[in-house]
Amino acid sequence: MRNKNTQASPFRWMLKRYFFLFVVVTVICFALFPMQGMMRILSTSQTLSRMTEPMEQVQREYYTRQLSQDFIYSPLNLEVLCLLFGGMGYVAAMVLFRHLFSRKQGMMIASLPMTRGKSFLLRLGVYGVWCVAPMVLCMAINPLAVWVKGLGEYFSLTAYLRRAGLSLLINLYGFALGTLSATLFGTIWSAALGSLLMAGSVEVALMIWIRFAATYLHSLFVDQAIRSMLVFSPIYSLYKSFYQPGDYGPWPGLVAAVIFLALAFLAYRKGRPEHAGHTLIQKKLEPLLVAWAAVLGGTAGALALVLYLGREIILYLGLILGALALSLLARMLLDQRIGLHWKQWKIPAAATLVMILALLGLRMDITGFDRYAPTADQLARVRVWPGHESQREMRFEDPESLEATLGWIGQMRQELLADKEKYPFQQSLHRSVEVIFEDQQGREVHRQYMYPVDQEAVLPELRIMAEKYSQQRSEEIPQVGNAYCYGSIPTYGLDTQEFMATFGFFRSNDRFSYLNVKEVREALRQDLQARTFDTLQEPTLLNLYMEGMDEETGTYRYDYSGYNVTAGDQHLLDLILGEEKEKWLDYVRGGFAKSENLRVFLCEFEEKDTKWELKSYQMAEDENQVLEWMSHVDRCEEEIFYRPRDRRYQVRVYSLSNLQDQVGYGTLELDLEDPEVISHLPEYDNVWGSTYTYVKE
């Protein structure tokens, strides 16, 4: 019996023809989802049945995360899984539209009694039935098994659907990308190349251009600019949202997939079968492709030469050569023959000219980017991040703090503009501070300023700010279920054995796992509120981290920034170290200097031909001198932002036991029994020791 619906028979025939897609997708998905998921569900079920003690919140969160988010249990990491899901969709598209890569097959399909639009939709239908449906079915088995095994209370459907949905979305993106490539490009290799161009070339080119811009716009905060750009990147948004479901929006990826499919539909309808087998099916796109090749070539050429030679003229030369080379290559690929073809030379020439003008525009700062100077009444708040390494953000809202901050920023801007006049291309070495200006409407302007490390321009405002900010953090302690910390005590030359003998551990978090999170939160709040600039400068003893299911958002949160617990944080130290606290404090506040194991030197340097050379040094005579010197060095991470740098002085600490180890290993050839050698240690460049910058007050 023939189906009277004329579309049903072709569809059934196509389903039969492409049945192998179902087999392949099902095998892969079954191996990824139910098979691995079942093992996890069974092991969780067995563990829970053996459990006699009441379960702690943190354990409950662990099992919920395992069953709801980590269902794709696989030896593959998340990046590879992304590639796998996207790759399956991409390959499916290539298989379903492979007739477009052969003139003969293309003609045969075009002769069929069906509009091109319906032919496209039929293939979309086959993708839905043979690729999406088996993925969905495989994903549906896990929750069923969880409920059958009675583990429903450890299962978050929302978390599960987020990650499962993302897997499908990545697959759809791959399919859409493959479909668009197949409909635009007439050979497999050109489609593959085209896919790469469409998937990531814009992001890569923009990233490089942001770097170029930063060589002229000295206040451009590169990392932030790249982050802002990547928010709109389809690939990046899909990857990030797959990696952190719920924390990151996959919308650019979804929008791109829909746009790709819509464009592919149009291209399929308008495509000419006679162009199958050519590099490009849609000939009208040829100028665009040549222009983009010139842009990419110019960008890559400029980057390659600038990285190698680092001079401004090279930037322009690399740009021109790169644009020329890649547009020629594109021309050869389009014509499918090797040789110099200057057809359409005006397009790469125009693209190169635009790029050169863009660089000149950046050089002249025609938008006034570096001169941006808001006033306090225009702003709601200013947020400051003192340095790349620090994750600490300081926020200033009240008029007094705003004025002080803007004054300090104004000084840095002046420094920056002066520096720019001196070095228009590339920045000189400074310590950077990221600033976010936020106006009344919530709009943000990001800038990066620098202050010279060698100048005496200590900024008292910053000290006040640091203190205020630290207190501010007490209001932002995450409401999560787990807290743990690592030992982060400075060794001051103690070796591993000594350290373990003294403190019973060596930078291990075992001792501090499963802290009572409620008590930690309370102690942390009290310590943060009590912090002053002086306590901030105390040595760091511990790194406290908090993570777990966020009670407010219901998502799993890792608070990677953590907290440095200093010798001044009495409440936390009491809670975590208990009776051992005094031993720790005694050690960091001077006890270390009593060690016979240490040899401490104060070194003075002088600058010769842009290099710093050792001028003189002096060995500490006793414990008191060691303590005196060490009181002038940076003892915590933050301090480097609040003190002026002076490269002329250093305190060097050598541990005799470490030196003996080096002699034993054969990496050091010194007679450590010889007092003369010991008193000349700084002269030996290859001798390992701890180096601290000494701050002359």
Binding site: K104, M107, L112, R272, E274
Partner: protein
């Protein structure tokens, strides 16, 4: 009726077809002769709805063909290079056709395969090129299309098979009122079975008409006079070709044969005879007139 109206087509700026208008009634076979690269295949592909014309339109009855599934289902294009699904057998190709063409008749396919000695279960890709052409024609006839477009389909077939297929296609055309277009270079074959013919050169149809009028439109006359006739008088006949051997003249003329003979009679010939030309000779003369290979 199959009709093309002012078809234009170009590839990459090169004009391949220009102003092609054709009409073909049911039950007729049309022969499309052309020089190499004249655009025969392109024209057939446009008629079958595979390619889109830059300008102009193709109609099957009242329906436009391009992007019209109903019309495309009734037209069958046989490429000069047969194309089948990858690794398919005749049976699988039959299933493919059955899914796409409501008029496909599996029994007819079986009968044709039996008649032309084709194994239905074996992979077509393993067949010789000639056998693949046989498969292609059998599959086409099993579809029972209203219009059959053959692009050098009989090339590569042995004489027995050529004759058998020619006969089958002719019968199918006359019995069912099918419209058939045969494109190729075998003028003898076309002369034998085509009702009408068209010459295609550099994308233009230079000659179109029923076979008899095209073949008789150009003829050769040989005559002998007592005295040699002056050259001017001979050229006044506007011959396509002329040849003298003493008193014997052979002229190739276009137009009405009776009128030409009356003019020649004024020379007082001792002997005069009109000789018919073959389609091939007519084609060569037409192409020469177009300046082809001169």
């Amino acid at each position: 009726m199959l009709k093309t109206v002012e078809i234009d087509k170009s590839f990459g700026g090169r004009q391949v077809l220009e102003g092609i208008s054709l009409e073909l009634e049911g039950g007729h076979i049309f022969g499309l002769l052309g020089t190499n690269g004249a655009g025969k295949s392109t024209l057939l592909r446009i008629i079958s709805g595979i390619l889109q014309a830059d300008r102009g339109e193709v109609y099957l009855g009242e329906q436009r063909v391009f992007e019209n599934p109903a019309a495309k289902a009734e037209i069958c294009y046989l490429s000069d290079d047969p194309t089948f699904l990858h690794a398919a057998s005749i049976q699988e190709m039959g299933a493919f056709q059955r899914a796409w063409y409501p008029t496909h008749d599996p029994e007819r396919l079986k009968e044709l395969c039996k008649r032309f000695d084709l194994p239905m279960e074996e992979k077509i890709s393993g067949f010789s090129k000639g056998t693949q052409k046989r498969v292609q024609v059998c599959l086409a006839l099993a579809r029972r299309p209203q219009a059959l477009l053959c692009d050098e389909t009989f090339d590569g077939l042995d004489p027995v098979m050529r004759e058998a297929f020619r006969k089958t296609i002719s019968e199918e055309t006359w019995d069912r009122g099918m419209m058939t277009i045969l494109a190729g270079h075998n003028q003898q074959e076309m002369e034998d079975i085509c009702d009408s013919v068209g010459f295609l050169h550099q994308g233009r149809l230079t000659t179109v008409g029923d076979m008899e009028s095209v073949v008789s439109g150009i003829f050769r006359v040989q005559f002998a006079t007592a005295e040699p006739i002056p050259e001017e008088e001979l050229q006044a006949l506007h011959p396509l070709r002329s040849q003298r051997q003493g008193r014997l003249c052979v002229v190739t003329l276009r137009g009405d044969q009776e009128t030409a003979l009356r003019k020649i009679a004024t020379f007082g010939p001792e002997f005069c005879e009109a000789l018919p030309l073959t389609l091939e000779e007519v084609f060569i003369l037409e192409m020469e007139e177009q300046g082809y290979a001169q």
